[in-house]
């Protein structure tokens, strides 16, 4: 593995996706590779990374067929494994300790892999399905490449990708953040939801409502909710719309957005890969005449006059100049849905209409949109007003004296101190918590393996070098992580502070006794 890592000093990170069922014959090994980042690595290096991973998977499966290799910790690298689909593996290799920030929480990295895969499936369906459609692998490669590159482009800081490190230990990827609202607002919202869901007549629509970057309501299944919420926060929310252009300027440098609309066969690989990673042979550009939609492409959503968000990512109807409505796949129902986001001030509504229920394509969607405007406009106004009134601003969920992360694993919900407040913590405190979380993750997965269904209660408080307390409490599927820098006195004091927090903000969920 040292070999593989050494040659990628440029970025310190490698990411690959491969299919264990492919390329089993000598000389066809390249067939396995569905995606590799950085793409400009020589194939030999790519193959050695994948070969090592494959070897370890095969080996560990002997002992644990269900859950094979999760991680390799080497001296200078960590290899994080994630089996996205049966026999389709994603492996991320990160360099350790090269600089002071390169201290990772493995579970957080795995969540990145999980997230990108889930998003991919939401837009294009499973990798396996696409492989079956085009056994040559050209189709999947041409989709994966731009998609993951677009995804990764959300991580840059300066010149490199900033993956979730110990500094992000008070965040939980793959969860949604909810808005807390009063009963009155909640009823109002629910009333709006029923209007939205009945927009397309008899066919059942789904809806999701966000306020700023917080989830207000959803009628989707939990998994679909996470995916769509992630996408909405990345690309659709007012923040994403306004900041989209700036945050990724580095990667986008030199490219012009007009390239993408041209509809040429080359667009899918796009300037991103051309500029930075060069197109590789494994990305068979020429094989696919259909243009590939880049679902995660930046800065392509804008607000139309009617309040609906539109994008030309999915193409433009040449005759009418109407942008094609994006479609997504729901995991739970395995149904294709039209994605219609609507925005009013800070309120983002996402309406999902079953494709099967709309017979005449764009016209039908336009009709439903019309319906929505007619039926729901007033309610939207009302809800926005109510929520704005109760909105506490960016730091609404800040609790002074505490830096916390609250995760409800059952509901995939998390809430945390605002990022701006977390940055005030000392590095030592964050390192301590990150380490603690690593341990807790391990403990959790062990408990899960040992006796599925039974929940483990856990309480750990550790003292960091700087005398801060890093605390973890798990009970009844809920997790609370906390850093107390000022509770320097005693454990009793720290535990008291947790108790207070629990009673005040968690309905006493963590008050163990």
């Amino acid at each position: 593995m040292g070999l593989a890592s050494a040659s990628t000093a440029t970025d310190g990170m490698q990411l690959c996706i491969f299919d264990l069922r492919r390329g089993q014959n000598e000389g066809q090994e390249l067939d396995k590779i569905l995606f590799f980042f950085p793409a400009d690595l020589p194939f030999s290096t790519q193959l050695s990374v994948i070969g090592l991973s494959e070897g370890l998977i095969t080996f560990t499966r002997i002992f644990s067929p269900e859950a094979a290799c999760e991680i390799i910790e080497a001296e200078r690298h960590s290899h994080v494994f994630y089996e996205a689909e049966t026999d389709i593996w994603m492996v991320m290799v990160v360099e350790k300790g090269k600089d002071s920030d390169a201290i990772w929480r493995i579970d957080a990295l795995r969540k990145v892999l999980k997230e990108v895969h889930s998003l991919f499936v939401m837009f294009y369906g499973s990798i396996r399905a696409m492989l079956e459609k085009d056994p040559s692998g050209g189709l999947i490669r041409s989709h994966l490449y731009p998609f993951i590159m677009d995804y990764l482009s959300d991580f840059p800081v300066g010149k490199k990708l900033q993956l979730p490190s110990f500094r992000d230990c008070l965040k939980e990827r793959g969860t949604v953040q909810m808005l807390t609202m009063g009963r009155e607002a909640a009823i109002e919202v629910q009333s709006l939801v029923s209007v939205l869901d009945s927009c397309a007549g008899n066919s059942s629509c789904y809806s999701m409502i966000l306020f700023h970057d917080l989830l207000v309501s959803t009628t989707l299944s939990p998994d679909d909710t996470i995916n769509l919420f992630t996408y909405a926060v990345l690309r659709l929310s007012p923040n994403a719309l306004s900041s989209g252009v700036n945050s990724w300027s580095y990667i986008r440098r030199g490219s012009t957005s007009s390239h993408f609309v041209s509809g040429s066969a080359l667009t899918h690989s796009g300037p991103v890969s051309e500029q930075i990673y060069h197109s590789s042979d494994t990305s068979p550009v020429g094989n696919n005449i259909n243009r590939v939609t880049r679902a995660l492409q930046h800065g392509k959503w804008y607000k139309g006059k009617d309040g609906f968000l539109v994008t030309d990512i999915w193409g433009v109807d040449v005759g009418s100049l109407v942008c094609a409505t994006p479609t997504v796949w729901l995991q739970q129902t395995e149904e294709a849905m039209y994605l219609c986001p609507y925005q009013f001030k800070s309120l983002t509504l996402i309406l999902l209409i079953p494709v099967s229920s709309i017979l005449n394509g764009e016209q039908g969607v336009a009709l439903v949109k019309q319906q929505l405007l007619e039926n729901a406009s007033l309610k939207i106004l009302k809800v926005e007003e109510k929520l704005s009134k109760g909105w506490g601003g960016e730091n609404a969920y800040h609790v002074s004296g505490y830096r916390y992360l609250l995760v409800d694993g059952d509901r995939n919900i998390s809430r945390a101190s605002p990022p701006g407040k977390v940055t005030t913590l000392a590095k030592e405190s964050l390192l301590a918590l990150s380490k603690l979380r690593d341990e807790v993750d391990l403990e959790k997965s062990r408990a899960k393996r040992d006796n599925a269904g039974c929940e483990k209660d856990l309480e750990v408080s550790i003292r960091a070098k700087n005398n801060a307390w890093a605390i973890a409490r798990i009970t009844g599927g809920k997790e609370l992580y906390m850093v107390l820098e000022k509770a320097s006195e005693t454990l009793l004091y720290a535990s008291d502070a947790v108790e207070k927090f629990s009673n005040r903000y968690c309905n006493g969920a963590f008050s163990l006794d």
Partner: protein, 741 residues
């Protein structure tokens, strides 16, 4: 003469049964007065007496006997007769206490007859130039008796000792003619060339109010002719406690309306008329304009701003004579003066609405449901009904059920619900809702077509009264039987018209914490012999249910629960309706019965919308209560998260015993013990914990639990539990020891 106004379906809907297509019915059979040698018929609106005169006596029909519940109508009403001195009778009125009779003998003389003593005295105009136009009794504190003369008003007080009239006040002005109704206490005096200038006085119990002079609008047929307004063309009507004057403009073919305020008279607009001859009456605040030539009645609800009629014009009909036309019913029982009497018939109904039965058959909801999105306005209309509040209420419930069952657009149902909820809230504020839960349960499909049906209208099924109490203690499942009984009772109503009468009342504790008086009335019979009882009942009901407002509990019982049973298919529609209902109640700050929340949980769980259920609970859309928590636990059998929500709610409600028991049940006995120690829960039997610890087959745990109880409960060591489990523990330890060696 009991009039019966009712709304019914339109032809296209098909009124089942009678084929009668009419909104207004005259009660059949009419009151018949077969007095030999009847010479004239008078009606006294002050005392609600119909007074036919014979050559030597009056026969009095008192109509109070016919309470509005008296159906079938009893034509053999008792009458009283008084013999008074011979002489012409131009007009006759009883004093309000019916002790005196005033009889106008000529244009200058009124004779008074004291009934008790059979004494008489007379009152004459002072000068010969004065003509008496009319007179009436009043309950104004200043005077008892008012004479309207062509020279003005004379107000008199009656001196019962001296048996004479004392003049209190005179109001001088020229009067051509006047109109007066006792209900409005308003007398309008017409003057001027065209008789279109009016002066009004209100002689109410609060005193005398003089209204400003005003002119009525009259269109001119030609340049030089000036039509003269006649007394028949002006009507005083009282609608929703407001006094209006309606004036027929024969030239313009319009019915102008004026509203009277204390210090102003404001013209309100005009209604078109389609007949040269019209009559106006009001039944239960609904304005009926009889287009006599066209033989139809048009209904207006003046409360609403719209000038559009409530319904299509349909003929007035006599109930029971399905095919007959209004003319036949109008003349029935009357000799001569056909139209005049007819007016009086209506007139009675106008002012003494309680003689009139305002049956609004549930067919109206079919009509509405089929015809319009106007349901909210229909409900609004019904919610304003004061008479027959029960029927209006029942109808509202029926309409609400129907719109939901028919899956009308949520926005429309929501408006309808808003109407009902805000009406309830208003009635709470004004106090007109007595919380007398007096409800009729009808299955909405049953058409009330006949008199027989309406005789059973009052019957109520009361089983549900007790079952509420049941539900709140026993939890969730008991509502099914109670609901079923509600329905069976209402069905049996059809046949129960001769069941014995039964009243019963009991107190009922509801969720809101108020003690509600529930009056229980069984199905009752309606034979003539029961009349006195009837009067009782109707009065009782009057006092208890003066408003058709529907409480949230009733909404739950008679709308949501009922509908839920009948509803097929996707329950999410009903969920959104419930949300709309909660929205309305929240706006009005009205508490909702927990059973509605329970229902919502059941519906969401049935749809497997657990994630949404969770947000309903966490956002407190479904307010926490024990019922809700128990239902969450119940629904949580299929979904562990939902179960957790239920547990959590129990904990937050500090229902310690339940919480600890459930924890033990889940095998989380350690947690349960911690919790029990913290909150001093001593009501859960130690055996449960010990059993749970024992079944975990962990001797350490069992020992810990034993130790805990030994410390926690004094004397625990002496109980049989301790001995039993101590024995088990020893066994465990020895067996562990045995295997390990």
């Amino acid at each position: 003469m009991s009039g019966k106004a009712s709304s019914s379906s339109q032809p296209s809907i098909g009124l089942s049964g009678s084929g009668a297509l009419s909104h207004i019915y005259i009660q059949y059979p009419p009151l018949r007065c077969s007095i030999p040698e009847s010479r004239g018929l008078h009606y006294d609106d002050g005392t609600k007496l119909l007074i036919p005169s014979t050559s030597n006596q009056f026969v009095l029909f008192t109509q109070q006997i016919f309470s509005w519940k008296t159906v079938p109508f009893n034509p053999l009403a008792t009458s009283t007769s008084d013999s008074i001195p011979e002489g012409p009778i131009l007009s006759i009125r009883f004093s309000l206490d019916t002790k005196l009779i005033a009889i106008q003998r000529s244009s200058s003389e009124i004779q008074f007859w004291i009934r008790e003593t059979s004494e008489a005295f007379s009152h004459r105009c002072r000068s010969d130039s004065e003509n008496i136009l009319g007179f009436f009794w009043t309950d104004c504190p200043l005077c008892d008796f008012v004479v309207v003369k062509n020279s003005g008003l004379d107000l008199f007080a009656y001196d019962s000792v001296a048996k004479s009239l004392d003049l209190v006040e005179m109001r001088k002005l020229n009067v051509c003619w006047y109109v007066y109704t006792h209900e409005s206490r308003l007398v309008l005096l017409a003057s001027g060339m065209q008789c279109r200038t009016f002066t009004g006085f209100q002689l109410s119990s609060a005193g005398i109010v003089r209204l400003p002079k005003f002119d009525m609008a009259m269109a001119k047929p030609e340049a030089n002719s000036k039509p003269v307004l006649a007394a028949e063309d002006v009507y005083i009507v009282t609608v929703y406690g407001r006094i209006y004057c309606l004036q027929v403009d024969r030239v313009a073919m319009l019915l102008h309306s004026y509203r009277f305020y204390r210090d102003a008279v404001v013209q309100q607009g005009s209604l078109p008329i389609y007949s040269r001859k019209i009559a106006v009456s009001v039944v239960d605040n609904v304005l009926l304009v009889h287009q006599i030539d066209a033989k139809v009645v048009i209904l207006y609800d003046i409360f609403a701003d719209s000038r559009a009629p409530i319904s299509a014009p349909l003929p007035l009909q006599s109930r029971g004579f399905p095919r007959s036309y209004s003319s036949s019913s109008r003349s029935s029982g009357k000799d001569g003066e056909c139209s005049e009497v007819n007016n009086k018939i209506d007139h009675e109904g106008i002012i003494y609405g309680d003689n009139w039965t305002f049956i609004v058959p549930d067919l109206i909801c079919d009509a509405i449901a089929a015809s319009s999105s106007e349901t909210p306005s229909v409900l609004e209309f019904l919610q304003r009904r004061k008479l027959e509040a029960i029927k209006a209420k029942q109808l509202c419930l029926g309409i609400a059920r129907t719109v939901i069952l028919e899956r009308r657009p949520v926005s429309m149902v929501s408006k309808a619900i808003d109407v009902l909820v805000s009406s309830y809230s208003l009635s709470l504020k004004t106090g007109s809702y007595f919380k007398g839960i007096k409800t009729e349960s009808t299955s909405s499909g049953v058409a009330k077509t006949s008199v027989a049906r309406s005789s059973t209208d009052v019957s109520t099924s009361r089983i549900d009264g007790t079952s509420i109490r049941h539900e709140s203690t026993a939890g969730v499942d008991s509502e099914y039987p109670s609901r079923a009984s509600t329905f069976s009772a209402s069905e049996s109503e059809e046949n129960a018209s001769s069941a014995p009468l039964r009243t019963d009342s009991r107190d009922l504790q509801l969720g809101g914490g108020k003690v509600d008086r529930v009056n229980l009335t069984g199905a009752h019979s309606s034979g003539p012999t029961d009349n006195p009882v009837f009067v009782n009942i109707s009065e009782q009901q009057d006092s208890e249910l003066t408003s058709p407002a529907i409480s949230p509990d009733e909404m739950y019982k008679f709308v949501f629960a009922a509908v839920e049973e009948e509803m097929v298919g996707d329950p999410s529609y009903l969920v959104s309706i419930i949300v709309e209902f909660l929205c309305s109640t929240n706006m009005e700050k009205i508490k909702v019965h927990p059973n509605l929340y329970v229902l919502a949980i059941q519906l969401l769980a049935r749809n497997e919308r657990y994630a949404e259920l969770e947000s309903f609970v966490t956002n407190k859309i479904l307010e926490p209560s024990k019922e809700v928590a128990l239902q969450l636990l119940e629904s949580g059998r299929q979904n562990i998260q939902t179960r957790k929500l239920g547990l959590e709610m129990l904990r937050q409600l500090s229902l310690h015993h339940d919480y600890v028991s459930l924890l033990v049940q889940d095998g989380r006995y350690n947690e349960a013990l911690r919790y029990a120690r913290k909150y001093q829960v001593t009501t859960v039997r130690p055996a449960l914990f010990l059993q749970a610890a024992c079944s975990s087959n962990n001797s350490q745990h069992l020992a810990a639990v034993l130790r805990f109880f030994s410390d926690f409960i004094p004397d625990f060591r002496t109980t049989s539990d301790f001995t039993t489990y101590y024995g088990i523990l020893n066994e465990m330890n020895t067996s562990v020891a045995a295997t390990s060696f």
